[in-house]
């Protein structure tokens, strides 16, 4: 029952993200756009390129969707509304999302095309770097909660959300989440103007639909994770807990979508340099600071 509710909410969330994304990128607010595009994609042919690595090509979109959905299983939307409250929940999110990298690499390799290949390899560097920035801020969050349970992490933020308790960690996690979901300005693997769609370029019809569905799910999952780790999850006054979760997730999603619109795509050199030279030392500093706070504030 819980599973069904969460999956339905996920579908609704994906729909909202699609509406928002279309609105932000085209300037037109239409509730029907994603539905029409989805049906249209199903009605178009789905072509397999000439010399594909067939298994990689077929598996990649499904794997992308699967890893995003898997990560969503440990996200609590309100007390009791969680698919599985794993004892290692906080780590599980990271573990599930690593398959995004595998999926993207497969999607890049599978079609045997130069644009896709460059896109896939770009994402390899991008995610190896930014997976560190996902897991290190989570470590600091877990230190405060003294538990890997995602529900416990939400409870631990009672009174003071992590965004105020460890703002540095929030900033790093937020940026890393955008890089993981390859949202602009981190859309290196799918860059339209540089790679004509990159890893997406060879997908069409139903496979493209699954790929895009996977990407939208990934965005909503990462926004939910940000809310759980830093924005106090379902907590908030007056409104019921589920409403707070919904509002916060939507707000984070909108911020993620809007931010990239206002700047050019980051160059790969900067992307990697900033992560390894700046992001990771800062993440270590964040762990250190939170460690002191945990010791000082009982």
């Amino acid at each position: 029952m819980t599973t069904t509710i969460i999956l339905l909410l996920l579908v609704f969330g994906v729909y909202l993200v699609a509406v928002l994304e279309a609105w932000i990128s085209s300037g037109r607010f239409r509730l029907t756009t994603p539905i029409l595009s989805g049906i249209a994609l199903l009605g178009r042919e789905s072509i397999v390129p000439r010399k594909p690595d067939r298994i990689f090509f077929e598996v990649a979109p499904v794997l992308l969707l699967l890893s995003a959905v898997l990560a969503a299983t440990v996200i609590p939307l309100m007390p009791g509304l969680i698919i599985t409250d794993l004892a290692t929940g906080a780590l599980f999110i990271n573990a599930a999302l690593v398959y995004v990298l595998v999926a993207m690499l497969m999607a890049g390799w599978g079609p045997d095309g130069a644009y896709a290949m460059v896109g896939g390899w770009r994402f390899l560097g991008q995610l190896i770097a930014y997976a560190m920035l996902i897991v290190m801020p989570i470590t600091a969050v877990v230190m405060r909660a003294e538990s890997l349970l995602t529900t416990q992490i939400v409870v631990s933020q009672d009174g003071l959300w992590n965004i105020f308790y460890q703002p540095l960690g929030f900033v790093l996690f937020f940026i890393a989440a955008m890089a993981l979901a390859f949202l602009p300005p981190f859309d290196l693997p799918t860059a339209t103007g540089e790679l004509a769609g990159g890893v997406e370029a060879e997908y069409s019809g139903v496979r493209l639909a699954v790929f895009r569905l996977g990407r939208l799910t990934l965005i909503i999952t990462l926004a939910s994770a940000t809310v759980v780790f830093y924005l106090g999850g379902w907590q908030g006054p007056w409104l019921p807990p589920w409403a707070w979760s919904g509002i916060k997730i939507l707000a984070v999603t909108v911020t993620m979508l809007l931010a990239g619109r206002l700047m050019p795509r980051i160059s790969e050199t900067d992307l990697l340099a900033w992560c390894w030279k700046l992001g990771i030392p800062l993440a270590l500093l964040n762990i250190f600071l939170v460690g002191i706070l945990v010791l000082v504030i009982p």
Binding site: L42, E45, I47, R50, V118, D270
Partner: protein, 660 residues
Amino acid sequence: MISGARLGKLSGLRRLVATAISRDLTTFVIPGPDIARAHGLDLAAAGLQIVASPRHASVLLVVGDIPLALHDAATVIYAQMVRPRALFILGTEIFSSLPDADIMSRLSQDGLIDGVQQLRTAFAEGAFRLDVADFDAPALQIRIEYTCSMHPEIALNEPGSCPKCGMTLIIRETQASTGRAHTKQKNVDVSVDEQMATGNEHNAHHHMSDAAKVEFTCPMHPEVVQDAPGSCPRCGMNLEPRETKTEHTHDHSQMNHDAAVQYTCPMHPEVVQDGPGSCPRCGMNLEPREITESETNEHSGMDHDSTDHSDMDHGDMAFMSMIDVTKNLPRSTDGLPMEWTEAPFGPFFPGLPGGLMLTLTLDGDTVADSKTQPLFENKELLPQVSPDIVNFIQQITRFGPLSPVAFQLLACQALENAAGLEISANVASARIGALEQERIANHLGWLALFAQQTGFNWLQRRAASLQLKFCLADMQQIATLAADIQSLIKRLGKTPLLKSRTVGIGKLASDSNLRGPVARASGVANDVRSTDKNYIALGFEAVSQTQGDAYARLQVRLAEIIHSLKLIQVSGAIERPTPADTGEISATGEASVETPRGMAHLELTLQKGQVIAARLETPSTYHLDLIKPLTEQQALADALVAIGSLDLSPWEVQSREIQT
């Protein structure tokens, strides 16, 4: 009804799908969205959604005349689109290799909107059909040749080793229509990045020639041979195609007779039928499979065993030695051997000017080499140029579809010079108004293209919409738009990452061959306007920068926009140049105009009021040669920014002698 309908009966659920497709018109534009904007077309307002990959498009929109050199590429793009697909042509004749246009309309915003209406109806009623014709064209034929990875100019029909360096030749596929013997025609699918080199229709028949057949073999284990692609049972590598001649003793007609094509589902091999269609189990398109007598022949006719074995005899080696695998690969400057990939970045690449025929050789994410081709052969337009003055001017403007006013002015001034006419100061200053208006629109269009390339969504939309409004604006509207443009430029100064994407990219030393904003960004004060007395009267000052990189070129263009706004305000009038009546004179004349891309120069000879010879020099000609030095050993993204910052117009690349 559309020619590119998908196979199926239009009923029930399919009707719903067809309606959805008719409301979701994903469009691939050729020659490019930049040309569409220069013609004043607002595609988004008309309901077309521009996509970057032909795989995602259901409408191919052709804007204006397409030069001969682009016909094949356009055909390949059409073949890459998935069904249902339609061809929508604005303001030009249909060209040979594409099917008949589904919708034709006028080259104007009204024409576009009309056409989109018809297109929606056509999709809703004809997206699925029971009689679907295959699409085939000469441009889609593939020929296999053998080439050296170090010397791409080597192209042999047989495998072997390179006559220059002795390396083993590798397989390369090229377009068959370029003509050489030993062609093998097969109709299969092409990946998007093969769009220019090769091309093919995705679900058509295999037309194997009678003497050749493709097998798949492992690059490490040549004894592994099979008929379908897959992976090597020994090492798991992907099998690669190679061409094998069937035994020469075979009677060719006999071979042909024995060959049969059957269609099978890639997911359900037990589904086999004689014609194309979709799988009754999963609905996927059936793929052709050829069954020939030679399949049972144990490949006795393989004609390149020797090379394969002598070079790669690894026997039963369990692991791949990197030294062996990479020993023949080209080396990058960092010494790492890598496989180099040649990929087209034009003529219809989303982030570069439409019509720019560019191929980059990629060494990983680095550009190892680049190749460009001119859009026009030197003499291609000769027969069309008319000696009649009015027509002549019209044709000159077609050399610069991105800046027609500047070229019209050029032609008019050359004529006036020949006739010895002096134009009044009022007219001259109104012409300056028109020229500067076009310069602003052109620079805004360049900004939109640059933003598209670098994924700067806000700037792309803002600059494009300002460009469209600005093209048509009168003096009053320009005053209101000026505020918008200034706030856009101000905002660009505060944009994060913009500097890091452009500073130090595409650095050019000052060089007297540079033209226009590119020259002025490198500190070369090369501007026709600074010597023009009419401009000086309006208070013209040349803008210049010294760094010579992409950032400096961006800054020069932004400063020019602001300065041009000022010039328009001072001149107070806008009037497009019209040719004066020169009468039946015989004389020679010349003129230079600072177009948005730099100085263009025209010399013409008149005889009895008819143009008998002309010579046109355009600014992009020299800039095209800069692509190679600017991109070599640069990261792909930086190389593209460098190319983009030149603001090339492939339409005017070629100085030509024009004969009438």
